[in-house]
């Protein structure tokens, strides 16, 4: 299979997945936007109205929107990609394809979806008076690094699930853990001790990426470029290694999926 064929197959599969998904529900593609918006509403009710008696300012909505929109992209995609090879069991037993095809199609599908979700995010920011500045251009590298991180985690996840099915139970749990530790509804910069903040941002790349979204979109501040590059490099290395693994162990993975 030539690289061109590989990528066009990923593209067509992703489009078909979107089409199938949209035709399944009455509200169709509106769900792309409704789902993250509903999450933000839920978090706003719980963490502002209930826990904080409505003391937080309107900025809190933007704070939540930035964090949650980015987080949902990561968590939903990684979960989807992780289960994708096992979910295509029927196909795996019939054709000899690079196993990375299925997680990559799932990741591509959510990339297409997420592009419009980010447009909504920008729209919400503008509605709340955060006008775009030059700093917003930083969103391009941030978006790219987020994508690399998702590809890395999605590929690793899909291998793990193939080898030991039990990971399918653990990965959503891991996502909940990340939801609480990545500063979605609280600010990593408000922990109180700068060392702890630093430690968290280093240990949890997702926390750094979500904070970077807010720095750029809400504070017009550039993110820590070195840190961003380190995450990009790390993800790149993981991607190369997992593609290599999936290529060399293609038949082993097929056997694991089929038995």
């Amino acid at each position: 299979m030539t690289p061109r064929q590989y990528f066009s197959l990923i593209d067509v599969q992703a489009r078909m997945l979107l089409k199938a998904d949209a035709s399944k529900f009455k509200l169709g593609i509106l769900w792309w936007f409704l789902e993250p918006l509903m999450w933000v509403s839920v978090f706003f009710v719980v963490f502002n109205l209930i826990l904080d008696s409505g003391k937080k300012s309107g900025d809190f909505i933007l704070f939540l929107t930035c964090g949650k929109f980015a987080f949902i992209w990561f968590s939903k995609t990684v979960i989807q990609a992780s289960g994708s090879i096992v979910a295509s069991q029927g196909l795996v037993g019939k054709i000899n394809m690079p196993k990375s095809l299925w997680p990559m199609a799932a990741i591509q599908e959510s990339l297409y979806r997420q592009s419009s979700v980010y447009l909504l995010l920008f729209l919400i920011l503008i509605m709340f008076g955060q006008y775009p500045g030059f700093a917003w251009l930083w969103m391009i590298p941030i978006f790219l690094v987020m994508y690399l991180m998702i590809v890395a985690c999605g590929l690793v996840g899909s291998c793990l699930v193939c080898i030991v099915r039990d990971f399918q139970k653990l990965i959503p749990l891991g996502m909940t853990f990340l939801l609480f530790t990545s500063g979605i509804f609280w600010d990593v910069r408000d922990i109180g001790s700068p060392e702890k903040t630093e430690l968290l941002l280093t240990m949890n790349p997702l926390a750094f990426m979500i904070d970077a979204h807010r720095q750029v979109l809400m504070n017009d501040t550039a993110p820590d470029t070195l840190h961003l590059m380190a995450i990009a490099l790390g993800s790149g290395a993981i991607i190369v290694l997992s593609i290599k693994f999936m290529r060399n162990k293609s038949k082993y993975l097929a056997l694991k999926v089929l038995t």
């Binding site: 064929q5 066009s8 035709s23 019939k94 054709i95 056997l255 038995t259």
Partner: protein
């Protein structure tokens, strides 16, 4: 039997496949599907494989298609030759139309996007689905699904075609058409390995047959004789 001057397309040498089924790490959890199977597949021939359910026929095809690797022995293919399974309904997505599914299946079988697009009208015509071709596959009857599946599967163009129980599709009318199309394929230059439970099909389509049971080859040779032996063993 087979003339020695015929070119070997594919050879299985002492191929075994076993895997762990239970969670335990002891040997009783190991499942032996194939046990030292050896045979040769010659150019242009149609080789039938018969045997009861669960004796390793599909696994053998999967090894020949290089989807699975044998745990023992080796498989030697003539360099540059391709082998792949002919399968009905390659992962039909029920929410998508027949057209979209056909497009996906064609691409999964190795067609480029433009080739796949070009096939679509051909598929629509052969499958006789008419306007239903544009409807979601979830609205299809079982017969319609297999029409779509068989037609897209027919597009597979490889040197060694591995066929797993395919000719039982659709209504009588379509089945005739499908059989005719398959026969034309097999009678031509195509090298075929054909798994079937139908004695009549194996007799009429295959040049040679192999009977496997419990992962081993019990008999091989002339289809009539092999089938007779197989049937005799079942009467015991």
């Amino acid at each position: 039997m087979s003339a020695p001057d015929r070119k070997v397309m594919l050879e299985l040498r002492d191929v075994s496949l076993s895997f762990q089924t239970s969670k335990g790490t002891f040997d009783h959890g190991v499942h032996h599907v194939l046990d030292q199977v050896s045979f040769k597949l010659y150019e242009n021939e149609t080789l039938g494989i018969i045997g009861r359910n669960g004796v390793g026929k599909t696994t053998m095809l999967r090894i020949m298609a290089e989807i699975l690797a044998p745990t023992g022995g080796e498989i030697v293919k003539r360099p540059g030759k391709t082998a792949s399974l002919l399968t009905i309904g390659l992962g039909h997505k029920l929410d998508l139309s027949g057209r979209d599914n056909a497009m996906l299946s064609a691409m999964l079988q190795g067609a480029t996007k433009s080739e796949a697009l070009a096939y679509l009208e051909q598929i629509k015509a052969f499958s006789e689905l008419g306007d239903s071709f544009e409807e979601p596959v979830k609205t299809y009857s079982a017969g319609m699904k297999s029409r779509l599946g068989f037609t897209t599967a027919l597009l597979t163009h490889v040197d060694i075609l591995l066929v797993d129980e395919i000719l039982s599709v659709g209504d009588a009318e379509f089945r005739k058409k499908a059989e005719k199309a398959m026969k034309e394929r097999m009678a031509g230059d195509q090298t075929v390995v054909f798994v079937s439970h139908s004695d009549a099909q194996v007799k009429s389509l295959c040049d040679r047959a192999i009977w496997i049971d419990q992962g081993k080859i019990c008999a091989q040779g002339d289809p009539e004789e092999v089938i007779a032996e197989y049937r005799a063993s079942m009467r015991k």
